[in-house]
């Protein structure tokens, strides 16, 4: 096992899949010589050349639409959207096309492809370099949505995503790229899509999170452990298809549940998780299904004071846990 940063794990996963399968190509803005603005594709262009690492023009709909066509044509494109905030111009291609191709053709066609994008705030990215966009896509049948939180999962889930026969959106919290390290084994391994993980066992309150928030949830669990509150943390890892079983099992055990997400609260991904729990674990609930999420403003503001105000952090989560535990 070697300790790797989150972005190293992403890069290794990409590289090894490209070595394994020559139909895998990488395309996006600045992914070539520059190696991506976060260096996720650093070195790939040198190793694999112009045909397999393609610097595209600045046109996201083209990046996604071309990937769909290339996937039909037998390639396995891994597209990079420079920031998740800039995936919006490709919304139509993702929702109308990638997501629906298999269903509308009654399994005649499919679009095996991955769209990677760095998301999330807390890095002075302001309104347009901090967005969480998962809720727009988790709502869309036909798309898989993955949000890893550890280097191990990032590599293993990226491998599974590339090998998956359907389109996968793969969101990487940019604040974790260099700040999160973890063990990544040498050999080949995969992490299956659609499986959540209990990352901290506990008995009194379930905290459900993903991405950066999965780390903050663990920190919060540690904080309140000193106050004798036992928290179970579930890291969802794949948001769609959701691993309902792991979620419901945990909540049925603890009877209390806090859902944490960084995106705007209203209509965010956590709303669906809350709704499922309220519907399918009702008899087990000893308290309201609560959520802690980003406030409902149109983006994370730039000024550090405002950014701190926006961001969910371990202390805010700990507060939520305390209130729920005391309920």
């Amino acid at each position: 096992m070697a300790l790797k940063t989150f972005i190293e794990a992403v890069r290794e996963g990409l590289r090894e899949e490209m070595v394994r399968d020559e139909s895998v190509i990488v395309l996006g803005e600045d992914v070539g010589k520059k190696g991506g603005v976060f260096l996720a594709t650093d070195g790939l262009w040198t190793e694999f050349g112009d045909d397999r690492v393609i610097d595209t023009p600045l046109s996201e709909s083209q990046i996604v639409g071309t990937s769909i066509g290339a996937a039909i044509g037998g390639l396995r494109p891994v597209a990079e959207i420079q920031f998740a905030d800039f995936i919006h111009p490709a919304f139509n291609q993702l929702v109308s096309e990638a997501a629906r191709l298999r269903y509308r053709s009654n399994n005649g066609y499919s679009a095996p492809m991955v769209v990677r994008a760095p998301y999330g705030g807390g890095v002075h990215g302001a309104l347009y370099h901090s967005q969480s966009v998962e809720a727009f896509y988790t709502h869309v049948p036909g798309l898989k949505v993955v949000v890893p939180s550890t280097p191990y999962d990032a590599k293993g889930l990226l491998r599974s995503s590339i090998r998956d026969d359907d389109p996968v959106l793969f969101f990487e919290h940019k604040k974790m790229y260099r700040s999160v390290r973890g063990d990544v084994p040498e050999g080949e391994y995969t992490v299956p899509l659609g499986k959540a993980q209990v990352t901290h066992p506990g008995t009194q309150v379930t905290v459900i999170a993903y991405g950066l928030m999965a780390h903050y949830a663990l920190e919060a669990a540690d904080r309140v452990a000193e106050e004798n509150i036992s928290v179970e943390v579930v890291d969802l890892r794949t948001l769609r298809p959701l691993d309902k079983e792991t979620v419901l099992d945990s909540v049925r055990k603890t009877g209390k549940c806090l859902i944490v997400y960084e995106d705007n609260r209203f209509g965010g991904y956590g709303a669906e998780v809350a709704a499922i729990i309220a519907e399918e674990a009702f008899d087990y609930l000893d308290g309201p299904v609560t959520r802690i999420a980003g406030p409902d403003v149109p983006g994370v503001p730039y000024n550090h004071v405002l950014e701190e105000w926006f961001m969910v952090n371990p202390e805010k989560i700990a507060d939520g846990i305390r209130k729920l535990a005391a309920y």
Partner: protein, 369 residues
């Protein structure tokens, strides 16, 4: 089924002015300069006339209350057959649009395939009855599944061309849409990418002068789509879309460039929309009677028929034979489609993904069942 099996498309049109026989520069037989044999020309004519006949049957069925919706290719068939003929069936790719009946028939789909789509039967190869008629597609025949949002398919064809280039398959990818649709942003993004990478890609615009009710002057600045090619440093031509052989020639050139690695081309085929936009549209609200009458002169079916007849290729005997085969095909397709069952609701959850995800199922009461 209470539908009469007339086939007006293959009836000799008496009003049709006699076309001058076309000879190549060398004075050889029609089509010879293009490498087309008489058999080729007869088959092309059969496809043009068959497409029209299938299409007219759709309207008959719609009026008879058998199918709820029609979207038509009438007036576009000449361009479609001429252009598609230049591609290699079973090898090249086409990303068609909702008027591409003749394109699909030329590229290998059958009248049964088209007709089961009208009836949305379980056996409809395009979508198993899931999509509206007009949304054709067949992996077997390299015809990309059509969706409704216009122009998205351009990028898919560009991606197919990219894959062909990277995988060195020698394939060409063509896409086609209306001139109104060509104003979508995806068209700009795709042409730019295809031109930068010199992809084996062909963009065909079937310009019928209207986007539903909006006339060309309000849709396309400068009124020429072909014009836009220069902005990407690729060749763009405008052809008479009612001239089957001119369309074939333009496409053959574009295919040649694509296969030679010289990059994409744009072909704007000027056609006419002989019907309303769809069975939901009333075109007399925005097109005058005179215009509609005048446009009949631009019908590619009688034009091509006269051209081949004048060249001595379409003999009376051949015409009778073709006409009979078409009537038989259209009747067969209709009867077949009428006989096919609807899809089962139990199949409706299939193919969201390659696998089923039982963990995603709603609670038992969640769909109100």
């Amino acid at each position: 089924m209470a539908v009469t099996h007339t086939d007006p498309a293959t009836k000799p049109s008496k009003a049709q002015p006699k076309a001058t026989p076309k000879k190549s520069a060398a004075g050889s037989a029609l089509g010879a300069d293009l490498g087309l044999s008489s058999d080729d020309l007869l088959e092309m004519y059969r496809l043009v006339a068959l497409s029209r006949a299938v299409d007219e049957r759709m309207w008959v069925l719609n009026r008879a209350g058998r199918i709820p919706f029609v979207i038509s290719g009438q007036g576009h068939e000449g361009a479609q057959v001429g252009i598609t003929w230049a591609l290699e069936k079973g090898k090249d790719w086409i990303a068609p649009f909702y008027r591409s009946i003749a394109t699909c028939l030329t590229f290998g789909m059958s009248p049964r395939d088209i007709m089961t789509a009208q009836y949305a039967t379980a056996s409809d190869p395009s979508s198993g009855g899931r999509q509206m008629p007009g949304h054709y597609g067949s992996h077997e025949h390299n015809l990309v599944s059509v969706s409704s949002p216009v122009a998205t398919q351009l990028l898919h064809a560009v991606g197919l061309a990219l894959a062909a280039k990277i995988r060195k398959t020698g394939q060409v990818a063509l896409t086609v849409m209306g001139e109104g649709s060509s104003n979508q942003g995806d068209v700009h993004e795709g042409l730019n990418f295809a031109a930068i990478h010199k992809l084996p890609f062909i963009f065909v615009v079937e310009n019928n002068g209207y986007a539903i009710s909006v006339p060309l002057a309000r849709q396309v600045a400068g009124s020429s789509v072909a014009h836009r090619a220069a902005g990407y440093d690729i060749p763009g031509v405008t052809v008479d879309g009612t001239d089957v052989l001119a369309c074939y020639a333009a496409a053959r050139d574009a295919v040649g460039r694509a296969r030679a690695g010289d990059g994409p081309s744009l072909i704007e085929a000027k056609v006419t929309r002989l019907t309303a936009h769809s069975s939901d549209d009333q075109q007399t609200k925005y097109r005058s009677e005179e215009e509609l009458a005048a446009e009949k002169a631009n019908d590619p079916v009688p034009k091509f028929r006269a051209q081949l007849a004048d060249a001595g290729i379409l003999t009376d005997e051949a015409e009778e034979r073709i006409k009979a085969s078409i009537v038989a095909d259209v009747d067969d397709a209709t009867d077949y489609a009428e006989s096919q069952p609807d899809p089962q609701p139990s199949t409706a959850m299939k193919w969201v993904f390659a696998e089923d995800w039982p963990s995603e199922a709603p609670p038992p009461w969640g769909l109100g069942e």
